[in-house]
């Protein structure tokens, strides 16, 4: 290690030697950085799960443009839009097909008494093309009354029922006093609003959500003609439809808007964002404390080096070397423990909490940045190293 670092720096790795000389302090510092990493990873993991579960239902759709009420916030937290806009939209050049989409949260009680909530999509079974290609053939079969496609990743569903669905069988359950039969499955997963998802026909949907009207769906899905840009057609729709009432978005825009809403408008997004900030702050304080104490403990040695002719860059190099060592050594255990906790969270909650390379790299770069910043602040103490005091 010392030889490697010596070759790398072209000098003795004083920072590493100082840190490794005091093992207790090194372990405490690394544990502190790892803990800060853990905090950040957990906040980002839950925030990522929130984002993933927010936009995951979009994967079920195969539309270009989505019309929504201006009162709505996201795909699943929407207002109602008058179905008449579907017909107005069809009159806009470029729009070739349209269908209403109903969304509701269906609570149900299982035989063992446990409760499960299903985010339910009601779609026109005759327009299965508006659903994802893998799902479309099954959706066409939903014309049969009280049949549904059930999310096989639904939290709390009996394993035998899900196994039966996976092997091509069916599964019957009750909701609102009526019987539903799951005749197929899909994979979406639970989120913060529901334990899983269900797709049914608009007719079945309206039977189970008695207060809903066929004339007021949650969204209207549109397809544009082959080769046409959804963005251009969306512009035409915005010009044709009342902006105060109807929100026109391409599906890509809607996804981005949902993520933005969850991150900036919802308390959950703000809380998790604040959690990330707190994690970074904890890391900064820990590293600063370690480095500034280390500088203070070695002022006499630094003053000696100054007397020998070492310049300011050398001392900055030592502090930054220590900062980088702490960042790297703290990141690795932080990452490993976080991955373990992610797995635990997935097992317990079913939330889509997953470590991806981008997040790991971002946190590592952030850790390096935070440690370097702490080091930069700690270097102010170097000014106190006066070689004249040595005599």
């Amino acid at each position: 290690m010392i030889r490697l670092l010596t070759a790398l720096f072209g000098r003795l790795p004083i920072g590493w030697l100082q840190l490794s000389h005091n093992r207790t302090r090194l372990i405490a510092a690394v544990a502190g950085v790892a803990f800060a990493n853990l905090l950040v990873f957990m906040q980002l993991g839950i925030m990522g799960a929130l984002n993933n579960s927010t936009v995951a239902p979009y994967a079920l759709l195969n539309a270009d443009i989505i019309l929504s009420s201006q009162e709505g916030n996201t795909l699943t937290d929407s207002g109602n839009i008058a179905r008449t806009y579907q017909y107005q939209a069809l009159a806009v050049p470029g729009v070739v097909a349209a269908t209403p989409l109903f969304i509701g949260n269906l609570p149900l009680t299982l035989e063992d008494g446990s409760s499960v909530s299903l985010l339910s999509f009601g779609v026109d079974a005759a327009k299965a093309g508006f659903m994802a290609p893998a799902l479309a053939p099954s959706v066409a079969g939903l014309a049969l009354e009280n049949t549904v496609l059930l999310d096989k990743d639904t939290r709390g569903m009996p394993a035998e029922a899900l196994d039966s669905l996976a092997s091509g069988g069916s599964f019957t359950f009750e909701a609102n006093g009526k019987t539903l039969t799951a005749v197929g499955s899909m994979s979406v997963g639970g989120g913060f609003l529901a334990d899983g998802m269900m797709v049914t026909s608009d007719q079945t949907f309206l039977r189970f959500f008695g207060s809903r009207s066929s004339g007021a769906p949650d969204h209207i899905l549109l397809r544009v003609g082959d080769g046409l840009s959804p963005d251009i057609v969306a512009e035409r729709l915005r010009a044709a439809l009342p902006a105060a009432v109807v929100k026109v978005q391409t599906v890509a825009e809607a996804r981005a808007a949902d993520l933005s809403f969850m991150a900036t408008e919802r308390p959950t997004g703000i809380i998790f964002g604040f959690g990330v900030f707190m994690g970074i702050l904890v890391g900064l304080v820990i590293v600063y404390q370690v480095l500034s104490t280390d500088v203070a403990d070695h002022l006499r040695e630094y003053a000696t080096f100054k007397a020998m002719g070492y310049g300011q860059r050398f001392f900055l190099g030592i502090v930054f070397e220590e900062a980088i060592v702490l960042a790297v050594f703290g990141f690795v255990p932080g990452l490993v423990v976080s991955m373990g906790l992610y797995a635990g969270l997935v097992a317990v909650t079913g939330l889509p909490v997953a470590m991806d390379a981008t997040r790991a790299v971002l946190v590592f770069v952030g850790t390096l940045g935070a440690c370097t910043l702490s080091g930069a602040i700690a270097t102010r103490r170097l000014a106190a190293a006066d070689p004249a005091d040595l005599f």
């Binding site: 010596t6 072209g10 000098r11 003795l12 004083i14 030697l17 100082q18 490794s20 000389h21 070695h298 006499r300 040695e301 003053a303 000696t304 080096f305 100054k306 007397a307 020998m308 002719g309 070492y310 310049g311 300011q312 070689p387 004249a388 040595l390 005599f391």
Partner: protein, 231 residues
């Protein structure tokens, strides 16, 4: 008189500590030149100003009034970068060894070489090993300071100061932590370096055992030279 023959030249040097009413003059109109290759001892009672003079000549303290020329460079008004460059041509031996606790004896001595740049690692290690061997520490190369005796630490500090072939050595009580024989070995080494390579040594000491080795003894009292002899 400053120049190659006189690496240290001090003229009209005054120095003060404190500010305002607490300002106190420590050095009064000091004038002296030190010849190349000589061993000069600064003596005097505590508070006489000898350490202040040493730090002013060694460019560790800012010159306030008067002139100090070191190796041909005026220290008054020199930039920090110029002082850093100048310090690399010097060797310092402190009363407290000031070794880096995390570095072995060998690594501490290497720091005296690496200040000049990465250089050839094998050559640097050879030079450090040789210097430590001259000071009787060949079997202590990989010892941390915590595992060395006081005298051994001081000898490592001497090796660190001398390994880079300094042109001037400033030493503050270098033999205080050494036994009679070790102390004499160190001072004789400094004396020999003066004779063989022209290294100039200025040493603050109260150690009467080594006075006979000095080329010049300057006695300070209350910031003034009261005696200047060539024994």
């Amino acid at each position: 008189m400053a120049g190659a023959d006189f690496p240290i030249a001090v003229q009209g040097l005054n120095h003060y500590f404190g500010t305002g009413e607490a300002r106190k003059q420590a050095i009064f109109d000091l004038n002296l030149s030190i010849k190349r290759g000589t061993l000069t001892i600064l003596m005097g009672p505590s508070g006489s100003g000898k350490t202040t003079v040493l730090t002013l000549m060694g460019c560790l303290r800012e010159v306030q009034e008067g002139q100090v020329r070191l190796l041909g460079h005026a220290l008054h008004g020199a930039t920090e970068a110029q002082l850093v460059q100048l310090r690399r041509r010097l060797g310092f031996i402190f009363q407290a060894h000031n070794l880096h606790e995390s570095l072995t004896a060998m690594q501490n001595v290497l720091m005296g070489l690496q200040v000049h740049g990465p250089g050839n690692a094998a050559k640097q290690q050879g030079a450090a090993r040789h210097m430590l061997g001259l000071l009787g520490l060949a079997d202590r190369l990989d010892y941390l300071p915590a595992n060395l005796s006081g005298g051994q630490k001081q000898r490592v500090a001497v090796a660190r100061a001398l390994v880079s072939n300094p042109e001037v050595v400033f030493a503050d009580e270098p033999t205080a932590a050494l036994d009679k024989d070790s102390g004499r070995v160190v001072v004789e080494m400094l004396k020999a370096l003066g004779q063989s390579r022209g290294v100039t040594t200025v040493m603050v000491t109260h150690d009467n055992r080594i006075m006979e080795l000095a080329d010049r003894i300057i006695t300070l009292e209350e910031g003034r030279i009261v005696n200047d002899t060539n024994p």
